[in-house]
Symmetry: C2
Subunit: 408 residues, 2 copies
């Protein structure tokens, strides 16, 4: 059901020097499924991470944040099938135990291990099932397990999400490979958005952190399926430095800008893949709001459209019901919005021209663009130079079905 | 399908001295349907009104606002089947023409007529069809047509919404009768929330305006079906003064407080009726957030729960998926929320106790409260004395069906 999204082939996912991965089957939710990923980061790697801002964040999120402050990260431990969220103090102990076992197996300090969980909320993490397979995972660590890892972190995802790109930096080939999972922005009972992007480029910690935030703002922070955010969301960026390029210690250097550009492309692909695989999605919607006084007001209008259940159900029905888009812009909370300067396009069809119904609009024109699987909505506010974009999907019977019936 | 809501009988709707109503069939959308309401307000009536804050408001909203400033209102003209929204300058002319015909028939100035429209957006208002039936409507004006009027303003509503109450003020019997329509907070293609509440009490204009805002804040401003607001929403409160009570010119007088209390009850009934008849609703949900530092933060948390598609689909499925409620509170944007002071109940079942999963919670207990048609969700923030409540409904297949397939 995913919209124009297919899983990558194993060959398309390039190894990143300094990154090894392994998967294992702990039987957390379904017997036999690969549901544990261990990722090893070479010594000297730099790590930046962004975590959910949800006040009820899961135990692994709290622990990962703490550990990252205390030590250079050497291992990421990810499990699907159980979110270890809403589990209180015992959930924290469970996360710590898992990290300790990785530490004991590998000889690093437990604070060098970052834990991540995604799956059912409010159920005890089966620590022993997970720790039992960690020796096997350690033995299987390899640079070539990206596709298996991308599959192992899936929950309600229908398609594995991963991508590689390369660029030249000062005569050295630099590789970026990343993977993501998530099919609602939140599924506190079963999912979450997780993303892991790695590169062998040498990048200073400060620049890596800035790059992550900049790339996130053009990607994961611009997608929405249902407006919710999860207890477990996390995005991690690792730079191993093994490409032997000259250290990038300035975001505005020519190398820094080129690396950020490719990194942003990967993040945008991985973020859009989450939307394309959105629960019940049948359409991929790009919403661009321009000519605003500030990026913030453009974003407000874009999210008002993207979160409107009325717009989303009309998109599902391929109904050129432009009144709903207009009404969403009107209620988006932009100060002193003068509708007489607002124009709205769906694809290249003008539906509102400076606040008035477009004189050459016909239902037939509207229908032709709404029938597409990928739909662009453009709003011109006519009051400034700022712009912003978000990506979302439609709202179908299957969204209700997936979310109403998941636990039954 | 409405949740515990039945239409009133004609006998239950008490005439209000000074208010006459009539309906007529203009065939705006469906031939033969009563789709026009004319309401006459006795000379000397006071009128207060609140209109949509949507920047793209419909022509009748713009005109009603203007007219109300210019003259004492004497007639309300309401049509269903066409919203006269997104119709530009010609829509404004259409609304003016309708008001002028009422004015010509009744001998008042056109500015004494307030127009209201609800229905399909973006289509020309059939002015001639409407004005053709106005003489008939004028001839039929009667104090006893409340039920017919409540039926005539319905769009996707499945149940007519109206209520009467009486109280004694200084030895005089005062009557309040009101009606509302709406089954989504917005249906820019077909609906809107409209409410008309009338009383024969004598109330000063300033007090009436204050009463309307206070009553709205405990009723229509606390309901949500899908988080949208419409281009056409309006709520009108009329006091004819025919009950011959001593003029209420203070909101804090004993009479003022008693009248406000009954008025608020009526508004709450009419507002909750909109939710009970929410598109596809199978459950009526009351969300109360207490122990907040401010009413505003309580409201933020309540709306975060009420607007979460994940919470709403779980409610539809009677799934005690408390993780979704917890996650909605966590992301609601309350500053420095300390989850260790937060407790959450569904009905009388504690699901989260001071930030931890309630130790005595069982899935069976959760299921028993979720199986009910009326569900109370209570969140105790544990950081103050403020509280606020909102009412909403669940999110069902039928919501998608109604909104995806409406225009086909």
């Amino acid at each position: 059901m995913a919209v124009n999204l297919t899983a990558p082939t194993a060959d398309a996912l390039l190894p990143v020097a300094g990154i090894k991965l392994a998967t294992a089957s702990a039987g957390i939710k379904k017997p036999g499924r690969q549901d544990v990923v261990l990722m090893e980061l070479a010594e000297g790697s730099e790590t930046a991470a962004v975590y959910t801002r949800n006040a009820f964040c899961a135990a692994p999120v709290i622990l990962a944040r703490q550990n990252q402050k205390q030590a250079a990260s050497r291992y990421l431990l990810i499990n699907s099938g159980n979110a270890n969220a809403g589990t209180g103090e015992s959930g924290m102990q469970a996360a710590k135990q898992c990290c300790q076992v990785v530490a004991d197996l590998t000889g690093v300090d437990a604070s060098a291990v970052l834990p991540f969980s995604t799956g059912v909320i409010g159920q005890p993490l089966p620590v022993e099932k997970i720790t039992a397979v960690l020796p096997e995972a350690k033995d299987k660590l390899s640079e070539n397990n990206w596709l298996q890892a991308a599959q192992a972190i899936m929950t309600t995802d229908t398609v594995a999400k991963a991508r590689s790109m390369q660029l030249e930096l000062g005569g050295k080939t630099v590789t970026i490979t990343g993977m993501s999972k998530g099919s609602g922005m939140i599924r506190p009972d079963m999912a979450t958005m997780l993303a892991y992007i790695t590169t062998d480029a040498a990048v200073s910690h400060a620049v890596l952190t800035t790059m992550l935030h900049k790339a996130m703002n053009q990607s994961f922070n611009r997608i929405t399926v249902d407006g919710d955010t999860s207890t477990n969301d996390a995005c991690v960026l690792v730079a191993t430095g093994k490409a032997d390029n000259k250290l990038i210690d300035s975001i505005t250097s020519e190398e820094g800008e080129r690396l950020l550009s490719v990194l942003t492309d990967i993040c945008r692909y991985l973020a859009q893949a989450v939307v394309r695989d959105g629960e019940g999605a049948t359409k991929f919607i790009s919403i661009n709001v321009k000519q605003g006084q500030s990026q913030e007001e453009c974003r407000m209008a874009a999210y008002a459209i993207a979160h409107s259940p009325l717009v989303k159900t009309a998109l599902f029905a391929s109904d050129p019901n432009w009144g709903r888009i207009l009404a969403a812009v009107g209620r988006s909370g932009i100060d002193n919005l003068d509708v007489s300067t607002v124009s709205i396009h769906i694809g290249d069809v003008c539906i509102v021209d400076k606040g008035q119904p477009a004189s050459d609009y016909t239902e037939q024109k509207g229908q032709s663009v709404m029938d597409e699987a990928e739909i662009d909505i453009t709003v011109s506010l006519g009051r400034g130079q700022a712009e912003d974009s978000v990506w979302t999907c439609d709202f179908s019977y299957d969204y209700v079905k997936i979310n109403a019936e998941y636990r039954t």
